[in-house]
């Protein structure tokens, strides 16, 4: 079943694109067998990543893709923009900082909802965030 769903990339330029990205993420996570709560958490993570692009970089992309590693199935989100970048990533990942609503807001929440979290960002070079949520071993016949 999951073979039928390949990676999708959504351009984020308007707020409506955030909704589109959420919808794609929710559908794909449902197809991959994630429960309703996880579907919502994935949609929320997409929101956070996409809003950071929309609000602080102006434009960028979110790529949502099924992923398999060591026989385990998961969903991978990749957010890329060429915006101003995050000057202090260590700080952006702290809770106090994120509540201020600055660039990077919500990232600590995303990290906690997902299983893997990777961020690359430097001033002037944009930001790239890759997160993965695992769902469990690939079932037979899938």
């Amino acid at each position: 079943m999951w073979q039928s769903c390949g990676p999708e990339t959504i351009k984020i330029e308007r707020e409506a694109d955030i909704v589109t990205a959420r919808q794609v993420g929710r559908n794909m996570s449902r197809q991959l067998g994630f429960g309703t709560i996880m579907q919502s958490r994935i949609a929320t993570s997409i929101s956070e990543l996409a809003r950071n692009i929309y609000l602080y970089a102006g434009s960028g992309t979110i790529t949502i893709a099924p992923i398999v590693r060591n026989g385990v199935l998961g969903l991978q989100l990749t957010a890329i923009d060429a915006g101003p970048g995050i000057p202090d990533i260590r700080k952006a990942m702290e809770d106090g900082y994120s509540t201020s609503g600055a660039l990077g807001a919500g990232l600590p929440g995303v990290r906690r909802m997902m299983d893997e979290f990777e961020i690359h960002s430097s001033p002037g070079e944009g930001t790239r965030v890759v997160v993965v949520k695992w769902n469990g071993p690939i079932e037979e016949g899938v």
Binding site: I37, S40, A43, D95, G109, R112
Partner: protein, 333 residues
């Protein structure tokens, strides 16, 4: 994670309540809330479980069912807050652990025993307002008859005060073998403090040397809260003389040596401003009120007097210490 048995228990709780609503089920529900939290069930999982539980209890209208999608979505944000509590708590615990080590280290800066000379009683009470104290005191034996005494108060918050205190301790410690008078010691420390700490911080200090043979106390003061001298013959408390610039303010401050001689029954009381800054019904204690308190505790051993005064002042300020508190009582018997 929500387990199947937990879900069954929740359905049973709801069913019991529906069959005959009572406070006992509500009590159980509250206890269950604690249990769920302890087992790290997030609020969105709880709402989701509630929605599923309803299906087992009756015909759920479509609009109610659909509404749970919205509630869950809103709850995800509450879940994020819930998940953040763990990190707050663990960071806080780590910090507490660090402070506990620092506290132990600070204890080692203070003398572990008081000098013992015939004809002189010594009492000390020194209490930190928070974990780390900014008050410092020390006794250093010079020879068979004399010991040095330091009382100091460092401005500013705990950690930087503690750093400054350890500087002072080492600086005094490394000069102990040189025969410096109290004024020279303060002049020396003033230069070191000025060179090494932030201009916004400073240190007040009384440094002195007590001759237990002559019962003569020679000291110098750097902007420190004046102590008291009790003359037993007159039954009167006097302010201890001595002024001088706080340490770390001007590089060339000079200090004056003061001298008092204790007769039998006389008492020297040295303190930090935390003693006088005990709040009594929102007003700071005046020095004459403090004298009244001291007068009520005369005639006992110096340590007993120090303890009794601490208890009196703590009660006056409704058991709240606003500043670090240090009092040293020297009593010639």
């Amino acid at each position: 994670m929500v387990t199947r048995s937990l879900e069954e228990e929740y359905v049973k709780l709801l069913r019991d309540y529906l069959n005959g609503p009572g406070e006992d089920q509500l009590y159980f529900a509250q206890q269950m809330g604690k249990w769920l939290l302890a087992h790290d069930v997030s609020p969105e999982e709880l709402t989701d479980m509630h929605g599923r539980a309803l299906e087992k209890l009756g015909e759920v209208p479509e609009f109610v069912r659909a509404s749970f999608s919205i509630l869950t979505e809103v709850m995800i944000e509450y879940g994020n807050e819930h998940r953040s509590v763990h990190s707050w708590r663990s960071r806080h615990q780590q910090m507490e652990a660090e402070l506990t080590v620092a506290q132990a280290m600070q204890k080692r800066l203070l003398p572990n025993q008081l000098p013992d000379y015939p004809g002189l009683e010594i009492g000390v009470v020194s209490i930190a307002a928070k974990q780390i104290s900014g008050d410092y005191y020390d006794f250093i034996c010079q020879d068979r008859e004399r010991f040095c005494l330091t009382v100091a108060d460092i401005t500013g918050n705990g950690i930087s005060a503690a750093m400054c205190m350890s500087m002072l301790k080492y600086a005094i410690d490394s000069l102990r073998e040189m025969p410096l008078g109290p004024d020279e010691m303060l002049r020396h420390l003033n230069r070191i403090v000025g060179r090494n700490i932030d201009p916004s911080m400073f240190v007040t200090m009384l440094y002195g040397s007590y001759d237990t043979h002559q019962h003569c106390f020679r000291y110098a003061v750097a902007g420190h809260e004046p102590g008291f001298l009790y003359r037993a013959a007159e039954g009167v408390f006097y302010d201890l003389a001595g002024q001088g610039s706080v340490l770390g303010l001007c590089p060339n401050s000079e200090y004056e040596v003061q001298e008092v001689r204790l007769e039998a029954g006389d008492i020297l009381i040295l303190l930090t401003d935390g003693v006088t800054e005990c709040k009594k019904n929102r007003y700071y204690l005046q020095r004459d009120e403090l004298v009244l308190q001291m007068q009520a505790e005369l005639g006992v051993h110096a340590q007993k007097m120090a303890n009794a005064l601490y208890n009196r002042l703590l009660a006056l300020s409704q058991f709240e210490l606003l500043d670090d508190y240090t009092m040293i009582v020297l009593r010639r018997t």
